[in-house]
């Protein structure tokens, strides 16, 4: 990309070193658990050992007798204020604390507040709960069978465990295309429960000022403004009014979607602070984080693809059963119960498609949040990219050739997909061609053939994904009715420096740097002179927060538009100062100059000073602007990934030898940060592909509930990622960007799965569900008689 600004200004395209790093590398980050307020007390939570049980009694006497224990809060306590249930973002309900029964193992049962976190833990041990176990439903298919125990007995008319049915596309047209198809393939694909496991767990410090009635909550949230409104709506009846609620999201130690929901712990901490009149800190431990916070995925999909014998795809059909646990606590836009799953036609020109999702209640933690992806996009991409390889295998076609044959072509954009999306821009053949060239695809295929002769197992996997991010246009996208715009507010100080505030909230993405670079690009003020702030609802403009790769498409766009409003006013001031007409002025590199007389110029700094000291008569003083940006469309980042694996035929272990990611996220603000986002996304794509899974036994006992058995990749399993770019700007975004934080998480799993299946394809293997553990591969190798 051509740089328009100097290194000193550091606008778009510069790999500026991050402005937030000086505090982090000194251990001076400011995370929730670092907050210590005068008189602060600690909250710890009693959790259920059962997945489904009636609560017969909760005995708190022994806990209350411990010196330092101040209170024990139960569902009965909260029920006095009608706060024992709360709404989920999907208009379902979930318990804050139970009064009747628990619905999953590790569910919150009671909370102990004490002067010290150790004493609070002592108190938790001393609370005695009497349970009466109830029949447990863990399998979502069995949950929907007639006669299955109805779990949500709190819902008066609920006679089954079905949550919703959702569908998109043309069912009849798709069925007809399948009936007429020359070739059809069908594959069951399961993506298990996984957990984002940000290294910082969730927590808060709730500080209620009894005198003034003000509530301040420092919390690990990706969406502070929305949380403030939710708190006001849920607790308005007990006097928490929105102007008296301040949510502060300080430095966040990774979010990835896990810090979007409102968890019971936050609400209990707020209630405790209101009851006790003291600041209350709650920080969950890792096991609580993995066992009780919202999960991701858990999609049981059946994908079918129809094609002509020459490989031309003609129709796609996917039927899914979603396991949501005991409540639908997904964090999707309200009109999209299955998120943006209808991106499942992917990068291919599919004339017909139909998809449907049904969701079921089970005795598992509530959820359905993202794991570093935009609302079920990973599930959709995994389905299409896997079934495409299954078709290639059926047709005995090279998977790259099959993709190239079916790609939406560059000249077809904007492209209307069979499931109703208008893809903004793309050049899919270019991305795959670049990846194939860089990795020497033909050479790898030759090597694979030679190795196969020698009995060695090597596989090459491709994923050519299309994402859908940047939610979203207000006509379709809202959360609890709040439209999914996002905001920027920029103020230029008299000395030409600036402060910029946003409705989003970085959790490591580097907004303090990239937003400053956008201001620098648009106004010529050095990025070093732009202070970026987010996360304090008292100061930042309202916005829906950071998730779904939406910050650059929404707040980033708002930043550019706000800066352009400032530039428009700056032009009027410059015209006044230069005694020229506005039409005679041109803008370049942070200054307005008179056409044909470049020496007659005013810099943005001179203009800023004049805005406060010598502004034109009749004009308002000051130089600032705010913008609430409502995107006209979503953005559609894409890429082609190629993964090369070697499989140890003795142990079944999969080793990623090479992984090349060619990404296209449109125009790039900071190449260093974009590469960092892709590296991290790739690691979080590899994790569920090979290692991570949360599963339950038939009694609802969790496995994968601590880092002992929930396997997060270390530097040893993670390969040295290779990256490259193509650049296809978004035509509707103010500076042509698309968003990048999640592309790699979405694109990587099928590339890895396809590589492993490719390594075993000659043995008749067509599909393996992720995570592809050594045990799964070892079992296949033994069944096929090729284990060494």
């Amino acid at each position: 990309m051509e740089l328009k600004t100097t290194a000193a200004v550091c606008g778009m395209g510069h790999s500026m070193k991050r402005k937030e790093d000086p505090r982090f590398i000194r251990g001076q980050g400011h995370y929730v658990d670092d907050i210590k307020l005068p008189g602060m007390v600690h909250l710890d939570i009693v959790r259920s050992p059962y997945a489904h049980a009636r609560i017969k009694a909760i005995h708190t006497e022994k806990a209350l007798a411990i010196p330092g224990v101040l209170a024990v809060i139960t569902g009965e306590t909260l029920a006095q204020f009608n706060l024992h249930w709360m709404p989920t973002l999907m208009s379902d309900t979930q318990m804050v604390l139970p009064v009747e029964k628990v619905m999953y193992q590790a569910q919150e049962v009671a909370a102990v507040i004490a002067t010290d976190r150790y004493v609070a833990a002592d108190g938790v041990e001393a609370v005695e709960v009497e349970y009466e176990p109830l029949p447990v439903v863990v399998d979502p298919f069995k949950a929907l069978e007639p006669g299955a125990p109805v779990l949500r007995t709190d819902k008066k008319d609920k006679k089954d465990n079905h949550i919703f049915h959702w569908e998109a596309g043309d069912r009849a047209g798709t069925d007809k295309a399948f009936a007429e198809a020359e070739v059809k393939v069908k594959q069951d694909i399961y993506i298990p429960r996984i957990h984002v496991a940000s290294i910082e767990t969730c927590g808060c410090v709730a500080d209620f000022d009894r005198v003034m009635g003000h509530l301040t909550v420092y919390m690990t949230t990706q969406a502070p403004h929305a949380i403030r409104t939710v708190f006001a709506l849920v607790a308005g009846h007990v006097g928490l009014s929105e102007e008296k609620i301040r949510i502060v999201s300080p430095d966040i130690g990774g979010g990835f979607g896990g810090k979007v929901p409102v968890y019971p712990g936050y609400v209990i901490a707020v209630a405790a602070s209101v009851v006790l009149g003291k600041p209350v800190k709650w920080v969950e431990d890792r096991m609580e984080n993995l066992q009780a916070d919202s999960f991701a995925r858990d999609y049981h999909m059946t994908a079918e693809l129809a094609a002509k014998r020459d490989g031309t795809m003609t129709a796609l059909r996917i039927k899914t059963l979603a396991d949501h646990g005991y409540a639908d606590a997904a964090a999707n836009p309200s009109k999209f119960p299955a998120g943006l799953f209808s991106i499942c036609t992917g990068s291919y020109d599919l004339p017909h498609a139909f998809t449907e999702v049904d969701a079921a209640y089970t005795n598992k933690p509530p959820g359905g949040i993202a794991y570093r992806c935009s609302f079920r996009v990973t599930e959709a991409v995994h389905a299409i990219e896997r079934i495409t390889d299954v078709l290639a295998q059926e047709l005995k076609m090279d998977p790259a050739a099959l993709r190239l044959k079916n790609f939406i072509q560059p000249e077809q954009f904007p492209y209307k997909s069979a499931l109703g999306w208008e893809y903004d821009s793309g050049d899919y053949p270019a991305a795959l061609a670049l990846a194939m060239k860089m990795i020497d695809y033909d050479g790898l295929r030759r090597e694979q053939a030679e190795k196969r002769q020698r009995g060695e197992l090597m596989g090459i996997g491709i994923s050519s994904f299309t994402e859908i991010v940047g939610a979203g246009p207000s006509k379709q996208f809202d959360i609890l009715g709040i439209k999914m715009f996002d905001s920027a507010e920029i103020r230029i100080h008299p000395t030409g420096k600036a402060i910029a505030r946003f409705g989003t909230k970085s959790q490591g993405q580097g907004h303090e740097t990239t937003y400053a670079q956008i201001v620098a690009e648009e106004l010529g003020i050095p990025a070093a002179h732009v202070q970026v702030e987010e996360g304090d609802t008292d100061t930042a403009p309202y916005g829906l927060g950071t998730y779904a790769s939406r910050s650059t498409p929404t707040s980033g766009a708002a930043c550019a538009v706000a800066a352009r409003k400032i530039r428009a006013k700056a032009k009027k001031i410059a015209a006044y100062l230069l005694e020229a007409s506005e039409e005679d002025l041109e803008w370049e590199n942070g200054k307005f100059f008179v056409k044909g007389a470049p020496q007659k110029a005013k810099t943005i700094q001179e203009i800023a000073f004049a805005a406060y000291t010598n502004h034109p008569p009749g004009m308002e003083a000051g130089l600032e602007a705010v913008d609430y940006y409502d995107p006209p469309n979503l953005t559609f980042p894409f890429g082609s990934y190629i993964c090369v694996v070697d499989i140890d035929s003795g142990t079944g272990a999969v080793k990623i030898r090479r992984f090349l990611a060619v990404d296209d996220c449109g125009n790039i603000i900071n190449p260093m940060i974009v590469d960092g986002q892709i590296h991290g996304g790739l690691a979080m794509g590899m994790a569920p592909a090979l290692m991570e899974e949360i599963s339950y036994d038939e009694s609802g006992n969790i496995s994968g509930g601590s880092f002992m058995d929930y396997l997060v990749p270390t530097a040893m399993e993670t390969p040295s990622w290779e990256t490259a770019k193509t650049v296809t700007p978004s035509p509707h975004h103010p500076f042509g960007a698309k968003g990048v934080g999640e592309s790699a998480t979405v694109g990587a799993p099928p590339a890895i799965a396809n590589a492993v299946v490719d390594a075993l394809a000659h043995l008749g293997v067509r599909h393996i569900d992720i995570p592809i553990t050594p045990e799964k591969v070892w079992t296949i190798l033994h069944a096929k008689g090729v284990a060494q």
């Binding site: 251990g27 658990d33 290294i199 767990t201 130690g253 490591g508 601590s706 880092f707 530097a715």
Partner: protein
Amino acid sequence: MSTHKIKVKIQGVEREAEVESRLLLVHLLRESLSMTGTHIGCDTTHCGACTVLLDGQPVKSCTVLAVQADGREVMTVEGLEQEGKLHPIQDGFWQEHGLQCGFCTPGMMIASYALLQRNPDPSELEIRQAISGNLCRCTGYVNIVKAVQHAAAALRATKERSTAA
């Protein structure tokens, strides 16, 4: 709960504290001494966010009792910077974009510091092994490896200059 008087040298400065037997070293640092640069990320000694040096060896301070540090030396992330000058490890992480959310970073830097103390010119594999007890969810590790290589080169260059002088 019995308490114990302990003396711990932290970044070379002797600190005294009266602690419960069960107090973890990480809580002594974070809560009693308000040094919050050392973070807590798990309960099972897996994530390494709480890594500190105990007598020069990297340990996970969530699994060390404060009383076990009695009479010993501790160094945390706050001890890396000297006289207002960043340690090359810190500079390496900054220059190479070796951090994103910053939560694992203190532990990562301490583990890397310990590696470079014993091995000034580590291979990529040796770096990956040295940080394999520290989980990072943001970076995919590539830039952390580069950060440590950056620091190793800077430290070697400094040593060569001082040897030449």
